[in-house]
Amino acid sequence: MSSAGLRALPLSGAALTRIDPLGAVLTAAGAAALLFLPFVVFKSNRIVPGDPRSLMEVLPAWGALGFAALLAAAAVAALWVADARVRLVLAIAGVVAVALAAAAAGDALTPPGDKIVRISPGGAFWVLIVALGLLATDAATRLSPGPAQRVLFLAGSLAVVVLALAHGTFDHLSVVREYSVNAVRFAHEARQHLKLAFGSLAAAAVVGLPLGVLCHRIPRVRPGILATLNVIETIPAIALFGILMAPLGALAAAVPLADRLGIRGIGAAPAVVALFLYSLLPIVANTVAGLTRVSRAAVDAAHGMGMTGWQVLTKVELILALPVILTGVRVVLVQNIGMVTVAALIGGGGLGAFVFQGIGQTAIDLVLLGAIPIVTLAFSAALVLDALAEVLDRVKA
């Protein structure tokens, strides 16, 4: 691998002209960020605006030098090296180095035993993480890894992050500080977030699949059902929460059992109902599209050989439609994981609670404590379901 990298290094003028355009943009962004933006910000408490600190101040000389050398190597790879494996390895090494540098800065700037000061990653940190992350993603895409490789890579990355967090590597960084203060609540809100996202998905699947089959079997009802779901999809989330408050509130007042089950005008109930309604369109539309795609000859043969209607549906049609239906599930899951955030506004809980509390207190670290896991969850869900749909589709190519 290294020899391939060396061979591709710029040794002639001709090679210099073949600069990778994405690499150029990412390198320029990273370099500008390092020059003009703070790498970490020192705050004497969690709410005040902080003082920017440069890397030279916070890292020992050898550390700063090594860090700079690694970033330079990643930049060279981004600009001139065509071998995707070299690009990937250096980009990942860069991400790890940036994270470790921030952790080291946290350790160096925090007075021993202090719980009040906050060391936050600065603009340069975020720009570098995004730039190197994009470089790694681009390199990985060029390698076109199989579905199993992608899932394994995700699992490995998450495991490394979790191990580092458990080990305390990032303990002095502000977001982890916020976490340690809110650990019990975080676990509760994260569970609530998953419950809301997956619960509404499950409900939408239970209702949406039969509805999709119905639309496929009886073409007359299809335009009406799909148009209705389309209209629901256009209502803004906040407005839909508002619309649902009145009927659910009335239901709770009229039926004590509903109230005892937690079905009220505010809280989790309107959130689940709204997410469920949003989820229906992708599930129903993709079920119809998937069933339409199934070979008519296979369905005719299935009937002709004596499968019952139910057997034709479950053993032939739905299985052959599954990759397309899964694409719908992926859309719904990613959409729900994002939209559950807003549910916190009506008392539905979830990681959005940290986001809105952080906005209220202008505590950006608290916002990040909610936002980072949400983004990670959505990204992981998309990757796993894409891989699953690809595996299933390949069998039926």
Partner: protein
Amino acid sequence: MITVESLTKCYGGATVVDGVSLAIERNSITAIVGTSGSGKSTLLRMINRLVEPTSGRVLLDGHDTRDEPAYLLRRRIGYVIQGNGLFPHRTVAENIATVPRLLGWDARRIEARVRELLEVFSLDPATYAQALPYQLSGGQQQRVGVARALAAEPAVLLMDEPFGALDPIIRTKAQEDLLDIQRRFATTVVLVTHDMDEAFRLADHVAVMSGGRLLQYDRPAVLLTRPADPFVSRMTGLADRAMRLLSLVTAGEVALPGASDGPAVAPTASLRDVLSELLWCGADSARVVDADGKPRGRLTVAAILAHGRP
């Protein structure tokens, strides 16, 4: 024995099949021919109730096909369609095992049957049993389609344009295979086709349909010599009807005693092929010799020509 009694199918105002009656003998091949829109596929699909008739009925060995649920009836009747309709998500072995599984055969019996059928259709089980349909050629897919239809040893096999998607060489091979299979398993075959050559080649009886009505149902030779309707003559073809007639008779059936120094022909060769051979060699007569080299008589050009007249 399949008895079709005044079967009619209407869709809205249109009558697609109009009062068709016919009796199909056990252990024979019957071809239903007609132009597109003649109702031939609909007639076939009413036999296994993929289409429910508007009126009339179908008897299978004397029992009304409506006496049991349609899906149970269909498990006893093989069904092959154009483009084979294999299940793309199941292996060749699983495809063939479809009906035996529906019938609840035990695993060992299913495996043995799948292996037997793969061998009958010259598909090596080691190579093909676990293959997925898209990995096979068109001809192989078609054979798997027929093997799947025969898996549960049905007495009746319905085929809807089964060879329509194959190229001419593979089609000829598939037709020969079908004749072998039909003799081997003593199956009653009902076949829909728009290809008259195919019908003449395979069928013991031909049903000619047009506009939903059955114009004539008889042996191929009768269709040629005594067509019931001008449409039947047009379907069978006027220009080469003498050659068609010759193609229906084999050398073994009409060989006369006597010797000949002409070319040797097999008793299974059709008179059309023997005549062609004689023209090619410039001989007046052919020796009919069976596979072991035993002489079976001779055929003169004059005798052959006599069989080409109505």
